[in-house]
Amino acid sequence: MEFSISALWAFFSTMLSSWKRDRPLRHLDTRAVILRQIFFTGSEAFRLISLAAIIIGTVTVIQSGAQLRKFGGADALGSILVAAFIREVGPLVTTIVVVARSVSAMASELASMRANGEIDSLRACGVSPQSYLVVPRVLSGAIATLLLAMHFVWISFTVGFFTSQVFVNIPFDRFVDNVLTGITGMDLVIFFVKTALLGSVVFLMACYCGLRTSGASYEIPQATTMAVVWSFMFVFVMQLSISGLYYFFVLQRSGLLGML
């Protein structure tokens, strides 16, 4: 079992054409699959995401607060948290947790379905596995990842506030003011686009790797490993690309690019 970008692209194109042809979201069963997947993906990762947000929020505030206080720039803490959590860490950490918990489970589930002949029987019965299995999973994956990332950001900001009270000693209204002035519309756009994109890509990868098996049971763990490894690869590359593009345009707009 080998990974191939052209095969992944063909898989993605087939998913889009099946979506267009069958319009699976009209079916109550597909909607039920979406809700079920959102529930399982969300509930499975909820506690882990909370724990990650608490730890990362605390460490970031302690580390950056200590440095900022040395230079008398404690007021910049809010802006740093916005840049760190909304633009970068929130989407990245959430997707990593989702890959570890849900993508692996989904890839092995689909590979098992293939080994049990369920995929062939769906196809033979005139039900497209792409419409019934892939479309709802990719959609629900994007939604669940987005919800989890919002949860991550909310928890990390709350924890960041309490930690800053202890280590940096910023009053509540100043902290909120710093955070709110630090958030721009572009930050929110990047957060939503990046998270939804990363979420849908990793679940597409899970479906691709799960359904690509030939039906032998020894390929189930191979499919799971391949889904996790390639999901991480795509997540890191996409994270870097989106952030790189953002900073490129910001620097270009502010005229700093020419100075570099």
Binding site: S13, H27, L28, D29, E118, S121, R123, A124, V127
Partner: protein, 277 residues
């Protein structure tokens, strides 16, 4: 390219000219096969193990791509493909839905009960946007399952069923939408004497319908003889016989010789049994 909108009126059901296919991209299991199946024909696909029956059946129902030759289903030429990702497009959905299929591995959905799985497939095929459609799906599933004597077992998940019940549930699913064409792979496999009568009854229904086409890939000679006036025998990916059962059984093919030996053994067993009884 074949599209749903271009589907023409079907005649014959399958037309294969010099087709070749394999389970992997580089392996050719069947090669140079010519087959024409007209509406209403009942065909038994026989042959030794590894003769290519399973692959041919999968090609006929659009689960494996044909790589060589011309392959038409209901008068529509199918694409020749090599890539897994395109396999979904081998055959348009509307053509697939006219063929009821049960393969050797039934592939019943494992995360729901047998009944829910069947209802789900039915609703996905015919829509579920109104309460009437959903009720209709339930009614049809109940009727079909009752016809196959599945009873209370349809409320269980497939892993809790006996292999015979799973087999009957798989065949019942093939009959669910009353398709024009039935394709069954080893229908009597795992069906013991207790459930055999139910299976015979269902297949009698197919045999009695002159307009319904059926292909059974089987190693059960009595089933083939009872229901199929046309036998196709495969060996090493090729057809070695295509004709009536009488004609084949009068010949001296290795399979016939094996069958005769089997009958002799069975006759001696029966005699021993009658002696004891």
């Amino acid at each position: 390219m074949t599209t749903e909108s271009k589907i023409k009126n079907p005649e014959p059901i399958w037309q294969c000219d010099n087709i070749g296919a394999g389970f992997s991209a580089h392996e050719g299991v069947i090669k140079g096969l010519n087959l024409s199946v007209n509406a209403g024909e009942k065909i038994a696909l026989l042959g030794t193990a590894q003769s290519g029956k399973a692959l041919l059946l999968r090609c006929l129902v659009g689960l494996r791509p044909v790589r060589e030759g011309t392959f038409k289903v209901f008068g529509n030429e199918m694409k020749k493909l090599d890539y897994f990702e395109d396999w979904e497009n081998i055959m348009p959905q509307s053509l697939r839905r006219r063929i009821g299929v049960c393969l050797e591995v039934e592939g019943l959905l494992s995360n729901v009960s047998v009944r829910e799985g069947m209802e789900l497939l039915f609703r996905f095929k015919y829509g579920d946007h109104s309460a009437k459609l959903r009720e209709g799906a339930k009614k049809i599933v109940d009727q079909t399952c009752a016809h196959f004597g599945l009873g209370a077992s349809i409320h269980k998940r497939p892993n809790l069923l006996t292999s015979a019940e799973r087999r009957l549930a798989g065949i019942a699913r093939a009959f669910l939408s009353k398709p024009h064409v039935i394709v069954l792979e080893n229908p009597s496999q795992n069906v013991g004497d207790l459930h055999r009568e139910t299976l015979w009854r269902a297949l009698d229904f197919v045999a009695a319908d002159a307009g319904r086409t059926a292909i059974f890939s089987t190693e059960d000679w009595s089933l083939a003889y009872r229901y199929c006036p046309r036998w196709i025998v495969m060996e090493d990916g090729k057809f070695v016989f295509d004709g009536s059962p009488r004609e084949f059984l009068r010949g001296d093919h290795e399979l016939v010789k094996g069958l005769r030996r089997l009958r002799e053994i069975e006759a001696s067993h029966r005699a021993a049994f009658e002696e004891v009884a």
